[in-house]
Subunit: 501 residues, 2 copies
Amino acid sequence: MLIRRCLSSAASSLPPTIRQLLASPPSSPTAAIQVNGWVKSVRKQKKVAFAVISDGSSEPGLQAVFTDVGLAKQLTNGASVRLRGMLKDSPGAGQAKELQVSEAEVLGECDPETYPMQKKALTVEYLRDHCHLRARTREIGAMLRLRDSAATAIHDYFHNNGFIHVHTPIITSNDCEGAGETFRIAPSSDPPSTTPSPASSASTSTASSATTAQSTPSEYFHHPAYLTVSSQLHLEAVAAAISRVYTLSPCFRAERSQTSRHLAEFWMLEAEWAFTSSVDDVCTVVEGALRHLLRAHAASSEMEALWRARAAEGGADKRPELLALADAPQPWTRLTYTAAVDLLKAHHARTNAFVFAPDWGKGLQSEHERWLAEEHVRGPVFVTDYPASLKPFYMRANDASSPDHRAPGATVACFDLLVPGVGELVGGSLREERLELLEAAIERHGLDRADYAWYLDLRRYGGAPHGGFGLGFERLISWMSGIESVRECVAMPRWAGRMLL
Amino acid sequence: MLIRRCLSSAASSLPPTIRQLLASPPSSPTAAIQVNGWVKSVRKQKKVAFAVISDGSSEPGLQAVFTDVGLAKQLTNGASVRLRGMLKDSPGAGQAKELQVSEAEVLGECDPETYPMQKKALTVEYLRDHCHLRARTREIGAMLRLRDSAATAIHDYFHNNGFIHVHTPIITSNDCEGAGETFRIAPSSDPPSTTPSPASSASTSTASSATTAQSTPSEYFHHPAYLTVSSQLHLEAVAAAISRVYTLSPCFRAERSQTSRHLAEFWMLEAEWAFTSSVDDVCTVVEGALRHLLRAHAASSEMEALWRARAAEGGADKRPELLALADAPQPWTRLTYTAAVDLLKAHHARTNAFVFAPDWGKGLQSEHERWLAEEHVRGPVFVTDYPASLKPFYMRANDASSPDHRAPGATVACFDLLVPGVGELVGGSLREERLELLEAAIERHGLDRADYAWYLDLRRYGGAPHGGFGLGFERLISWMSGIESVRECVAMPRWAGRMLL
């Protein structure tokens, strides 16, 4: 309380927002208050006029009532205004309070003839074309506030559990195992050569040797530089000292595919921690984070509004079943990959439902993932212990003690969390901490051991069993809100062919 | 309390960290506990052995006492261990509690002969060469925890004041006014042409036209794409709907200069808000944020340890004077640029102290900034209302009512916050919201109006007076901790010629 007072005095230049005013109205109903915002709608009658004013701070705007109709004369949709008046109990339905306006000032006009954000329903494509203005719509505004509150809940969960947030690098020398879906960077004044030089062609087996590696003088960093596709490897280095670390950080993939689940630039929650020894434990942390997140949003008016909008378009309002997951008495379903494939095969044999026949050793197709989460489990499902051949080199090989080994190393200690509507929301694993097995995996995957000298050092010097996961933040927002495409789950989306502003 | 119980049950796979154990020791002193961590030092005597164990969660590690000396036999610096025992009051000086060890297990060995992180003092250059391991040092560990707690305090301040956090884009079409210090990007499989195509050569005056702009097929985004140098313009678009927004986001400058204050990749706190009409108000928010930040760190053992380390190297421990700023009864000093130049000129006339003679219309050199903050004010100083010719196009022109106009438009409503030891920590301004004046400024700065069509739209449709600022996060950490170079203020620094990992 003391802190809060100090804060508001220090920042006295910030008058209360509409959200703050509605949450703590002035104690006297005749106190004069001032509201700044934009006109969302205006309805002028003979003896009274009404307008909805939004400052973007809350899901419902504030109803303003003009008994002096002249005050509302200049109000048009989209104009920015400063209103003075009294906050009174509202006799109308739909809001508890309304502003009885005594003074109105238009700060910034908005020509209704040319304003691109007309009141009529605008298509998502139209709004993508106007992404500098689309935060003015109710849905995108609610989505932005939901992102903010989701990130806050994530920070709370990890801090409460002893994690610290780390800013991992965006520019990296790691080219994502040469997969070619990375972005390469160079100074504008000195673009990269058109033939990428082989990654770390001259680096030797100790990390410090990178300073003496043969440099290409035209490279700003003396190495080819890429945008990160994942912070995991960097987080592992920090987790080998700080034990529990996480990051909410941008990641980049130069994908050509155009789906509702992929962006070229997206945000990822990634966590890594030491001294964990089972995939089950990693799943427990993920489930704990998501339960906390849902619990923190039990009364979110943003989630409510977004699901209501979805229902208005003919979709189902899945909010109740989502929120119920927060306190579900049983742990969320966990299945091994082998068990999942058996289920898929049995279903396919009965119904011939799939385009791709499920088979052990093959990746799960999106139709398989959807069936598992949406029809079989009807909720989130952790699929664990995939075949090693389907997964990256750093995942820990299962041995004889693991639940689902066929031969040592045939499966790895990993999981994907599949959720209805979205598919894969989280992926994680134990990381191989055994030096010899990791070296063998690097070789088996055809990677250059010299590139991973620093990563091997983490095992060589006081390595510890550890694990972690990555969660796509836009997919999380899509799951929580029912927003169909991740392109509407971030302020200014970027995908192949598409980058405005 | 209820929430905390739920949390720990959901994440029961996470045993308490050393920080948590020391903050809430088990109620029974004979309770068996388990500690995971790395050996920081070990001292073996005949009848007893001591080791300091760190799991990175707290500034002091945990002292472990082995009355069974055999248990400590395999312990070496850097090894990861799991210890079991009882947490007892420590008879020794330097710690309140110690672990009396009954079982010890080495999880990951560390050969003391080859371990790169020997106990002896390691130079900053050596640690930069081993940045995958340097989080294991006390200073870098403390810095990482300080970054985390500083970010948390920032989130708290802005949330308490009605702001929401927005993830602004990293990849942008804005080439930073062609300044050439940007990084350009392209898919690895399809590098950009060596001659950058002129920025938005074909875009027209409405934002939506970008979709129909002539595309260069080789560009992934159909436009040249850059890494952002600042989120400001994007934040302004969101602030024109959400009123109060901020971001803590990576920014990039392809600078060639090698200083202790510059990185190629750095994190910036940026905030923008609508309905603010004076630079003084913007400064008040910045000062409020920094006071809150310092107040939140009054008992920070990380800040204490970092200043102690600085003092041990012969520097001064400035922590008391920093913390005193949090509750200083007077607002921090504010000076106009004109007043600052007058002071600098008078000082220079008396002492001939500067290499560059101060003069109205010229930029403040770093020697000038240092003198103002370190010698004249001896604390933070806001310098306001710089000549328009020194500042970017978007800053609001001062008119006759402003404190320091010479002719209309001669100065702009801006400020730099200078602090001892660092120099410029924050820069901000009102943004020009008047359409005609902004158009004129774009022309005067030789920019292409078509590139800023979307930015002009923000003024055309319901524009509002607004302002904001940017704060370099690494510089903030340097200011709070006394760490000399920003290269030690981030986990894995990148600068010209330098990017490991």
